[in-house]
Amino acid sequence: MTNLNLASEFPALEREDWRALVEASLKGRPFETLRKATADGIVIEPVYAAGHEAPALPAAPSRNTPDAWTLVQRADMPDVSSANTQMLDDLVNGATGISLVTPGSISAGASGVAITDSRSLQRFFDGVELDLIDLRLDGGRNGRDLALLILDEYKRRRLDLSRCRLTLGLDPLGAFAHGGKVTERDELSRRFGDMFNLAGDADHAGPVAQADTRVYHGAGCSEAQELGFALATSVEYLRMLEAGGIAPADAAARISMLVTADADQFVSIAKIRAARLLWARLLEVSELAPAPLTLHVETAARMMSRRDPHVNLLRGTTASFAAGIGGADSVTVLPFTHAMGLPDSFARRMARNIQSLLLEESRVGRVRDATAGSGHVEALTHDLARAGWGIFQAIEAQGGMMAALGNGKVHSLIDKVRVARNLDIARRKTPLTGVSEFPNLHEAPGKVLDMSVPADWSMAGTGLKSGMETCEPLQQHRLSEGFEALRDASDIHLKETGARPRIFLAELGKPADFTLRATWMSNLLASGGIDVVTGSPEEFSASKLDIACVCSSDAAYEDGALIAVQTLVQQGARRIMLAGKPGQLEDQLTAAGVQQFVHAGQNVLTLLDDISRLARGEAS
């Protein structure tokens, strides 16, 4: 049997050959225009050398379970028995883990299972075999009390906790960032240490503390910041636990991490791989024995849109694929209606099925670290790890994560990134499908459940009091909020007046001339909730509208833009715009009455806000 070398039949190509072809197709544009940068300024090259040709890098450790990650579904319906029904449905239909979200959690929003005491907890777990599932607690500010109740429940059932998969998920710093208050340091260290000992005495061997980055991601942080904060939080917990009497080696084994994955697939993959690299490095410099990190990934709330919510199914798919490929031990997909309210059973089934398809049909979990050796992913992983370590050092220089939250350093780091990203979104340099691009103005509203947490809800616990540290709570935002506010205003206008805010698109010349820009313009307007009426400039007065936008090709503008504008002025247009850049015609057209030239690259959010207000009669 001879080895076939199929590649030998093709001519050998060097990087320079490829580069020459690229230069030719760029037609004079510089090569650098093909480069992109992440929020941290990490450059993404158009092409990379194969991973094995790149300089030798340490391998990213991979998932702890070889065949599959744990498919985790959220339990967050306020009504305990509804939450129980939903959980049982999830567990018999593919979920292998449950994330119990109670109202104090940073991810609960207006929901969360309203567990008040051991009795309601028993009702919630009715029919669930706790030793067969992976249970993750997401109690937020009630984390400690919830953990105590749960441990009691395992004990009541006389389960061997050392064989159960239970993640207590205590994250006081995340709750601090979210709520602006936390027990003062010495007391927190002591309680943390006590909690570790209590869990240990109950034979619990899983993760107790969790460095959870969702609150930072929701506030707008970058990937490197997310990694840096996760690391700094872990180190802070190690320090607190040491002060609370727990040896670092014991503590390190019981800290887990929760990071996000979003619709940027490669960056998400690299981020998750980098988290493991950084953890390994942290143990190394702390002179602790190498130990795997328990890494959970939740798809990002920040990327979820209220408008065109079905696009969220694609976002969730991309993000959970990235999470799985990147090496998460467990993954939660937010249901596609998450941003709209409390997801119904259908949305939850879809979230579950996204992962079931990846795991059972595509068998994505069977390949260990599938992106290893990809030049792009390897380079990005290490760039992100380096940048993450830099952020970690910057936080340490402030005196650790708690101090950096207290003095606003974390806030200022995040703000800088968020402001830049928001500008990119407003300019549609970062497009949001279904929101800033390809919006559907006439979509039917999505369905969510109407169920709320009782106003007097509280969780039975120790009732311990203590002094508090304070910080500015990190406000949570979604990327699509700016556009959605305009769409909401449009909905209200429709309800009140029977029509959406509208403007007139004055189409000039033949369809071949105006179709491109008229379509572009009506899509842009729809992203701000503004409807259009189309017609020739002469038909403007019949439309009974105030605002007009002239749409056509550059050639047609040469011939007739000026006359069109004059016609619109004569017919009483209060505001005239023109789609496209005017070139040499600018002065003439401005003099004739064009107040705004609309083209790609502008801050369309302020433009749409302005037009929307005008069309709704709010401003002149």
Partner: protein, 129 residues
């Protein structure tokens, strides 16, 4: 009641005021978590128990919102009680002695059957006994 506290002071070496508070927390767990009728019966048999539970465990209002919180009670369950005892300054050995002595004392005063009934009505306690 005082004789129980004295026993605990003797067996654990705790200061009398700490022993009193710890006993109060223990009784508060019973009061907030146990079957109401049975607990009333038990506390009637142990003079001072109800007052001590009230004093150190709060009013035990479950799910009582802000008022419950202000009462400082809201005892969640056995582990929450242990956690609160730890915060009071007891170590695990002392907590075990406290539990044993309180149980023994209750049996002396109210009889073994009633104490067992009350204990069985507290969710989760069986896992620790």
């Amino acid at each position: 009641m005082q004789d129980l506290i004295d026993r605990i002071v003797e067996k654990t070496g705790l200061a009398p005021d700490v022993a009193e508070k710890a006993t109060g927390i223990m009784l508060s767990l019973v009061k907030t978590q146990g079957d109401k009728a049975k607990v009333t019966q038990l506390f009637d048999a142990i003079p001072g128990a109800g007052e001590l539970a009230q004093l150190h465990g709060g009013d035990g209002a479950r799910g009582g919102g802000l008022l419950g919180m202000l009462g400082g009670g809201l005892m969640g369950g056995p582990l929450a009680a242990v956690s609160k005892l730890q915060a009071t300054g007891l170590n695990m050995d002392q907590i075990k002695v406290l539990g044993k002595e309180t149980l023994g004392y209750a049996k002396e005063k109210a009889g073994e059957d009633l104490v067992k009934d009350v204990a069985n009505s507290i969710p989760g306690i069986s896992g620790y006994l």
